[in-house]
Symmetry: C2
Subunit: 369 residues, 2 copies
Amino acid sequence: MTSYAPLQNDTFLRACMRQATPYTPLWLMRQAGRYLPEYCATRARAGSFMGLATNTDYATEVTLQPLERYPLDAAILFSDILTVPDAMGLGLSFAQGEGPRFATSVRDEAAVDKLEVPDMEKLRYVFDAVTSIRKALNGRVPLIGFSGSPWTLACYMVEGKGSDDYRMVKTMLYSRPDLMHRILAINADAVATYLNAQIDAGAQAVMIFDSWGGVLADGAFQSFSLEYTKRVLAQLKRVGTDGQIVPRLVFTKGGGLWLKEMAPLDCEVLGVDWTVNLGSARALVGGAENGPGKALQGNIDPNVLFAPPAQIATEVGRVLDSFGAPYQGTGTGPTQIFNLGHGISQYTPPENVAALVEAVHSHSKAQRT
Amino acid sequence: MTSYAPLQNDTFLRACMRQATPYTPLWLMRQAGRYLPEYCATRARAGSFMGLATNTDYATEVTLQPLERYPLDAAILFSDILTVPDAMGLGLSFAQGEGPRFATSVRDEAAVDKLEVPDMEKLRYVFDAVTSIRKALNGRVPLIGFSGSPWTLACYMVEGKGSDDYRMVKTMLYSRPDLMHRILAINADAVATYLNAQIDAGAQAVMIFDSWGGVLADGAFQSFSLEYTKRVLAQLKRVGTDGQIVPRLVFTKGGGLWLKEMAPLDCEVLGVDWTVNLGSARALVGGAENGPGKALQGNIDPNVLFAPPAQIATEVGRVLDSFGAPYQGTGTGPTQIFNLGHGISQYTPPENVAALVEAVHSHSKAQRT
């Protein structure tokens, strides 16, 4: 057991556990990223995205950059959702100005036959980064580890890259559901092993990004995404190296219609995008005082960050108010973790992020007086 | 008043009015399109997409092509959702292999100041096509006219082309909501005038495509999309040139979460995409026997068409069964119009469309016995 500095800001972890906090904690999806000039400088030194992600010092440096600028309440490991299929041998790369791409795509039975849960040694760079970041944080805020969901990984593995119609992966899903289920089962076991290793390396919470769950049809979502998220969750460790509970967050972009079906998931937090009304989501899955329920994470439109500070504050207030009165008891009750409904845009002016963070903290404090 | 041949197949119009039909009628979004070799041949002769859309004979020819192949229950005008902003002077074009693009985009107050409801004479080619197609159909099936929704048109007008993040249009929405409301009010009045002229030209139903409503945040959808769809609907004619009621269909892609808020719309049909469970949608907005309610249109994933015929039939059965028992009374009750949840892919094998049409008709007949 590694010993780390005691945690100074536990608002994020408390909100995950549906406990009261003095204000609504926040972090931002992709908070370490291209909108920050210091990130671009580090990436330039690293030479490439994978050069950045696979180097412990660089990964630590960029993870901490947004915390130097903004009083965020959590850090998230700097990595990519596609490291697991890369370790399966599919060859991940990021061409300049483009999204991820695999050298090999998985389109037929022969390719599926070759898949297996990768040797976690191939992902050692991720676990090393987790430990290094945890140490560098020195107890400032908790560190979130993460992975893509089994379905989201499968999308990229079959398509070979991003897609706007998901034709290849859905052709397999509808034509050869048996093959799709085989890929998803392997992915689920790999993701669970991967997240457990992040927990062992020092992650204090873990998040599953089901970024493409929302492109599935009703029925297919339940069978091909939700079922395998469950399979991951069933295998996850509950306690971290420091003996603390490790909250589990599940975010399905575009999954607002299935929130009620996600309520029984064995996790603490459900993330929602900006199409969801937080008050309705709270009524559906937020739970009553001292009863079961999920904390909710989200959900402002990242494009709000292109408006001037006054409008940003107005929209932040709208999102916080839509969730309703914050829980202030001494037990458990409905809680929110403020976040964007999707990753921050690379074109975001950094000073607008400061305005957003300030507005979340001040408005949510005012809600509690 | 022009006189047309009497209608031989009124299943689509009856289902729109929530009346019983001997089977579930179907048509396919973008049914006249690039997946058909005969369409590609006509487009090649026309030289360009706009050359095709603006020529009455070509537009008539391609509208009827899918009906020659498949026993579809409605025809839809061959045109584009962006003809209205083109007529506003923004200069619509389609580069080969790319989406629509405007020569001028609307990004500031000066550009908004110049916008006005266009002279409908500039859209004469559309109305001429409607009349020509109606005549050529000779009563076989009804003809649907259509337009993009005010918000969807605004997306393209501000972005200047398709977008994957809607950054420009949302920057305006959040920074200068006053400008966005001005654009939307003009668009709504233009769309209403445009659809009314299609009705006068012979359209037997009209559909509003809110293709990008689903990218809006909760709250913004209601103010910037739904409100202006209402404004269009309030101005629409209720009766066509032949004295028949003209049903109005509204389809918001990605709008499943707001179905209940769409229930009060003054229209007959709500379209839904494949993320929506039709049984739940029916319970929410389908209405009881002889009570108010909406017919539902949708919603199979177009990617199902890449599976073999047996799987297509299985998925068709799943979608029809999810809607539940068809209404078979003599009054009004919950009805479905079968459709895709989005436009058909250009890569679709035409023979698979035949399998889908056959499966819809045979399975829905069997449901009624």
